[in-house]
């Protein structure tokens, strides 16, 4: 009896220890997490006292001083390049370790290792798209260059030196929550991070949808509804620019045209999200006589921020800007002499090839009139709480055959089954050197030289220098293609369909000091149709670019404020184009009281997506519904995934083709006309707003409908921002949607000493327990910028310093 009692007295405490020390389902190990000595309470940073620190790192060659300003932005002063990147790695890890770790794990398809089986499709997708394969190639490219190698190794050393200082109590919060440990950084992770940027910006592919459309509607309709150049456009390289080179001959378009098998997924409206603006004004248009450069890359907004501000100072370099946590150097920024920025180029650098396999073993495929061997790559996926999974991926000379069976995973919807992927991000590359040279650049020639190192994701590199040169170059490694190559799924058996070389870097579209006195880009077409090479058939809609060019064209004596206000411009060119055509089609007699009131708001509307505009809400839902009314009946067919024609084509049709057959809803007996659809859509818009918010009141305002917020990177509730009551929309310069928008706004005034201004919706620290986690969000939301503190020495007194970190050997 007593033996049993004694046994129970031992078993109960042990059970309790085990129970509260184990991760159960989604929940962290409860008392391990709540323990104030080592759990989450330890991550609460002192808001009131911030101390100076010293650190010893064996690998440091010389003394390094890091100065933190009052927004916790580090300014690194090193005596050589090695120490500079070592310190960059150290401070970035200090603020963003979990983010760096998580993003690279995500890129490498290693999330299941942390969260278990539920992430298995995510991991398979990343692996099967060849992310690790691409990163391995890329790393070879970087390690082959002594400078890039030094950068990466020093950066890695810095991160690991920081990790070494950690014990469980000061692990970043998310490690405690998800119950895993930081692992040492390796150079491949830098490559993975850059590949992930390619995946975010250059993984879009419509060729599966386009092939289905071609099969269903035939070449005539496809050509009509999906033209290779938009109806309205204002290209990045001004129309009429001359091409001062002799182009290579492009490969011939093969005689045959392919078709492909289809799976069963739904048609989706093309989501417009990732885009960006940048521009540079020459001194002739500014008050100071020196150029002003502006950039705001639009990405999915997260906390911790995508970007990390930093100043890097060492002999031969003094640059300030934003870096990506996980990659050495400054990506967007300025130095004493130049400033630069980027926006995405929608180049078609991802193609699918239909593969003919000999048999179901997939060991051989037909190409160039013979059977060729595939190679196999085994992807070992570790799964927490379960056995490892070995996923076999077959590679042809094009690249990996992504799927043999359609997975239940949203991001894989546009991947055709049984097809091989040819993607620029699989190639060897060394993008880091572009930023290495830009960080140290002093003039136009340095800029041109830096760009030659760049492969992907292709970017519009805008540039301004103190010599009053401005330039823009849609830049990347572009395959030499025949026209429309890759618009549809390609034939993988015929060498004529392969990528057959590259557009020479020097012949990438570029313009320097155009007569109009400014350069700009907003992801629209790179050039007009006179450019001798094919880059893609479709780019982002032109509205933002048009508005930017209209405003810059009219501007003179520009100052930092006029540019700042422009970055937050909410005027909609789409509304300007569409409203005059659709409002007259409305039949006021058929509208109810709410709808009539909504119409009066529309009639008085300034066409701005400002926060408190009710008309903006009505217009937004109205036009979305109108596109649905026009296209959904034809382009949503069960089992045949397709996409809608572009917004540009839709607008063209509304303006110029009042009798197009597409207005008729093929699922009804009567024949619908454009006015029918416009009226239905308008009522639909008003009714849906009324259902949500009641009769017209201030809850109908645009900001309330849009609900902009900045969520946590892993969508952990409570760790994101509040709902921000702000304006802006996808088609306006201030392209803020629900959780996507300007991830960094920067304006640089060049001059004797450059003046930088910038903000991002977040903070320097990745720790939700730090006041520097989200301290810049409100400034960002209000459209203001901070003055950036460009220091000349560690003791520069022009800004406020809150702490110092000295690193020595």
């Amino acid at each position: 009896m007593n033996k049993i009692k004694a046994l129970f007295c031992v078993i109960i405490p042990i059970t309790l220890a085990f129970l509260f020390n184990t991760k159960i389902g989604q929940n962290p190990p409860l008392l391990k997490f709540l323990n104030p000595f080592m759990g989450f309470w330890q991550n609460a940073e002192n808001n009131h006292f911030i101390f100076n620190h010293k650190a010893k790192i064996k690998g440091a060659i010389d003394k390094i001083e890091i100065v933190f300003d009052d927004r916790m932005i580090p300014h690194i002063f090193a005596q050589n390049d090695h120490d500079l990147y070592l310190a960059q790695g150290y401070v970035t890890a200090m603020h963003r370790l979990w983010q760096m770790d998580f993003q690279t794990r995500f890129a490498a398809g290693r999330i299941s290792e942390v969260v278990g089986e539920k992430a298995i499709e995510v991991d398979r997708y990343q692996r099967r798209m060849g992310m690790v394969y691409g990163a391995e190639h890329s790393l070879k490219g970087m390690m082959a260059d002594p400078k890039a190698k030094e950068m990466i190794l020093a950066y890695t050393e810095g991160i690991n030196a920081y990790i070494k200082t950690l014990s469980h109590s000061n692990y970043p919060l998310e490690y405690k929550l998800l119950d895993f440990k930081p692992e040492n950084w390796t150079p491949i992770k830098c490559a993975l991070l850059l590949k992930q940027m390619s995946a975010v910006l250059a993984m879009g592919s419509d060729e599966f949808y386009m092939t289905n459309i071609l099969k269903k509607f035939g070449p005539e309709v496809t050509k009509d509804l999906f033209p290779d150049y938009p109806f309205k456009e204002d290209p990045i390289i001004p129309v009429g620019s001359k091409w001062d080179f002799t182009p290579l001959t492009t490969p011939k378009t093969p005689q045959s045209f392919t078709d492909a098998t289809t799976g069963d997924v739904k048609t989706k409206e093309k989501i417009e999200g990732i885009g960006s603006n940048n521009w540079a004004l020459s001194g002739s248009k500014t008050a100071s006589g020196y150029p002003i450069l502006a950039n705001d890359p639009h990405l999915d907004l997260t906390l911790p921020s995508i970007w990390y501000q930093i100043q890097l100072h060492a002999p031969g370099v003094n640059t300030y800007g934003v870096s990506l946590p996980g990659a050495p150097g400054v990506i967007i920024g300025f130095n004493q002499k130049i400033a630069w920025g980027v926006t995405n180029v929608a180049a078609d650098v991802l193609d699918f090839y239909q593969i003919k396999f000999k048999d179901s073993s997939h060991n051989e495929y037909w190409y160039n009139n013979k059977w060729n061997k595939t190679t196999r790559r085994l992807e070992n996926i570790k799964i927490r709480g379960s056995k490892d999974e070995i996923d076999t991926v077959y590679y042809t000379h094009h690249g990996p055959v992504v799927y043999f069976q359609k997975p239940k995973y949203g991001r894989a919807d546009n991947v055709p089954v049984g097809d091989a992927l040819r993607w620029i991000a699989h190639d060897r590359s060394n993008e880091l050197m572009t930023f290495y040279y830009l960080n140290r650049g002093s003039n136009y020639n340095d800029y041109r030289k830096a760009l030659t190192f760049y492969t992907a994701p292709a970017q519009n590199f805008v540039f301004a220098s103190i010599d009053n040169d401005i330039a823009i170059t849609p830049n990347g490694k572009f395959p030499l293609k025949w026209k429309e190559q890759g618009k549809f799924i390609l034939d993988g058996t015929d060498p004529a369909y392969d990528w057959q070389g590259w557009i020479p870097a020097a012949q990438n579209p570029t313009v320097k000091n155009p007569p109009r006195g400014f350069v700009s880009s907003a992801n629209q077409s790179s050039t007009d149709p006179t450019y001798p090479y094919y880059i893609n058939w479709e780019f982002a809609p032109y509205e933002r670019g048009k508005r930017i060019n209209d405003r810059l064209g009219a501007m003179s004596k520009a100052t930092m404020d006029s540019i700042r206000l422009m970055q937050t411009d909410n005027y909609s060119i789409l509304a300007q184009n569409v409203l005059p055509a659709v409002v007259p089609l409305l039949n006021p007699e058929s509208l109810n009281a709410t709808q009539k009131e909504a119409l009066s708001y529309i009639n008085k509307w300034s066409k701005r997506y400002d926060a408190d505009e009710i008309a903006a809400s009505v217009f937004e839902i109205w036009t979305k519904r109108l596109a649905f009314n026009i296209w959904n009946d034809e382009f949503v067919v069960k089992g045949i995934p397709m996409r809608y024609p572009s917004r540009d084509r839709t607008v063209e049709m509304i303006l110029k083709e009042p009798n197009a057959k597409w207005y008729d809803n093929i699922n009804t007996k009567q024949k619908e006309t454009l006015p029918d659809l416009v009226n239905e859509a308008f009522k639909y818009s008003c009714d849906s707003l009324e259902r949500r918010f009641g009769p017209i009141n201030k809850d109908w305002r645009w900001s309330n409908v849009k609900q902009t917020n900045v969520p946590h990177l892993a969508k952990i509730p409570g760790f994101g921002s509040k709902i921000l009551q702000i304006g802006g929309a996808k088609s306006t310069i201030n392209a803020i949607s629900e959780t996507n928008g300007p991830s960094w706004r920067m304006v640089i005034e060049l001059g004797k000493t450059p003046k930088g201004h910038g903000v991002y919706p977040g903070g320097q620290s990745g720790n939700p327990g730090s006041k520097f986690y989200d301290n810049m969000v409100d400034t960002w939301a209000s459209g203001k910028l901070y003055d950036l503190f460009y220091m000349q020495t560690p003791d520069d007194k022009s800004g406020k310093i809150i702490s110092r970190l000295k690193i020595s050997k």
């Binding site: 033996k3 009692k5 004694a6 007295c9 405490p13 104030p36 080592m38 469980h168 939700p768």
Partner: protein, 119 residues
């Protein structure tokens, strides 16, 4: 007595040891000097309840409870001080139960010895 011993030993040990030392300490302390079952439970409970709440406040107050507020939202508790109470009560309970078990363990062992002697 149990209270003071547990507070001091746990405070020192927790600087380096994982949270479950509170179980070991409460068990051992009550197993050695626990006078009654009631004392074993309640003094262990309050020792850890106060120690954890006290130390959590020491970290959280200079932070203006920003983090505690965020974690409270995450867990669905919503209010930061409710999270603090949960921290204290849960750890206190675990310590209390361990102390209680420690006390009864000794009792069982003593009884066993007496049984053996009698036999």
């Amino acid at each position: 007595m149990v209270f003071i011993v547990i507070v001091i030993i746990c405070f020192l040990l927790q600087m380096i040891a994982p949270w479950w030392v509170i179980i070991v300490v409460a068990f051992a302390t009550c197993g050695i000097i626990g006078k009654t079952a009631k004392i074993a439970f309640w003094q262990s409970f309050f020792a850890i309840f106060l120690l954890w709440i006290g130390y959590a406040l020491f970290k959280s107050l200079p932070n203006d409870n920003v983090l505690a507020g965020r974690v409270a939202v995450m867990t669905g508790i919503k209010i930061w001080w409710a999270l603090l109470l949960v921290t204290g009560i849960l750890s206190g309970l675990v310590a209390g139960i361990s102390g209680f078990c420690g006390y009864h363990f000794r009792m069982a062992m003593l009884a066993k010895k007496t049984d053996e002697k009698l036999a």
